[in-house]
Amino acid sequence: MEVYELPLVFFTVLGQAAIGILLLVSLLEMIVPATDQGTLKGLRLAGIAVFPLLAVALVASLFHLGTPMGAVRALRNVGSAWLSREIWVFAGLALLSLAYSGLWWKGGSASLRRGLGWLGAALGLVGVWVTAMVYALPARPAWTAGGNTVTFLATALLLGSLVVVSMVQAMGKEEQAAGTVSLVAGLVSLIALVMIATSLASLAIRGNADPQVALSAQATFGTWLFWGRMVLGMVVPAVAAGSVLFRAKTVPAVMSLGLIGALAGELMGRAVFYASAMGPNVWGL
């Protein structure tokens, strides 16, 4: 039976999307002039979305536990368990995001908001790395610290950039800053797509040399979810990002389609990530 670990799929993908948004909004806020109100409204919407996304991600993670009422005990073993460290980091990030999204929603000190945004983005990147370390288990050779980090960071960059650009395109259509935001976000999402392709290619190459990794590679590339992810999660966003980079005008609907495709693709890809390492009996025992 396939082990898709759906609660973990939603926790990691949505959590990483929130981190990507934090990073992109913090970055883009620096280059958007105060006069381009429509573009700033787009950034505001994206900023408000950070906390709800993280909250949904954290609630989803509880469904992974067989005994969710004991979840708080998972904070105990910071000394050696990466999962405990991950929970501490994401709990901190959730609190920080609550303040950050609140400041976007209700208004308040812009400098405090920007400071929280950068702090959150930095903590979020630590969170991406810590999650990668949770799955860097010798018993699951398909998962490595480096490979996991690239995979998770790509999710954050892809979804973060597409969320931000979709909202900016919707709110600040004719503004010059909206065009700049689209260019930056389009470039970031293309980089993320290259990272995803690299991480999949690396799995295939390692599979050629290592029989245990080969089983996971077969379980990855032999599934319909993988091919669905290729089309929805890579081709569709690549077309959307390409349309931003290589055409003067972009239709907002294209970016929204790119975002929907990328989200579906990342969810499918993450389900395959878990199933390919947890499903096969890699050690023959």
């Binding site: 067989g66 005994t67 998972a74 073993n77 999962l83 018993a139 050690w283 025992l285």
Partner: protein, 179 residues
């Protein structure tokens, strides 16, 4: 006391699974949960079947202990790795982290459990139930260093899992012709 461990003689094991049943009975394990499991390893050319009885290997470097977020696992002075079952939250990190499939998740209970080497029996000077019940004497239990001295350090085989990953406390003799 040094590290305790199991000895498995695959040459004389004929796969009756009495060890499995005895373990389940001793520990009142629910359906689907098997702390000791007999693996049937089929091979072609020449067509043959080996049986391998494995439980928790009470590793020197237990990945379950290292990765459990609640710190439910501890390693006793005699090397047995035991779990505080009340503390388990069913996150299955130990299931992911153990290459031998020792920790067993029970979806009904929402928790993981694993072989404790019959620690309570060992404390009373008794053997683990699986060892005691094996009709072919294919299982032994004792100090790992003594088992290694008795059966040769070379008998520790990797079984596909690199031994350095967790340093399992098990000594295994392969069937003749497979050594």
């Amino acid at each position: 006391m040094g590290q305790l461990g199991f000895y498995v003689n695959m040459e004389i094991c004929y796969g009756c699974q009495t060890c499995e049943v005895a373990c389940k009975s001793q520990n009142c394990l629910p359906p689907g949960v098997r702390w000791r499991r007999v693996r049937f390893l089929d091979q072609e050319n020449p067509a043959s079947r080996m049986t391998l009885s494995l439980s928790c290997n009470h590793c020197a470097d237990p990945q379950c202990l290292k990765n459990c977020p609640v710190g439910a696992y501890t390693k006793r002075a005699d090397g047995l790795v035991i779990q505080d079952h009340a503390a388990c939250i069913g996150c299955r990190m130990c299931v992911m982290a153990c290459p031998y499939g020792a920790p067993q998740y029970d979806p009904e209970e929402g928790k993981v459990s694993k072989c404790d080497g019959c620690a309570a029996r060992v404390d009373q000077g008794l053997l683990p139930r699986c060892v005691e019940s094996c009709p072919g004497h294919a299982l032994e239990f004792g100090e790992l260093s003594e088992l290694q001295a008795k059966y040769g350090k070379d008998a520790v085989i990797e079984l596909g899992v690199p031994a350095g990953m967790t340093r399992p406390s098990v000594v295994i003799t392969l069937p003749a012709g497979r050594r």
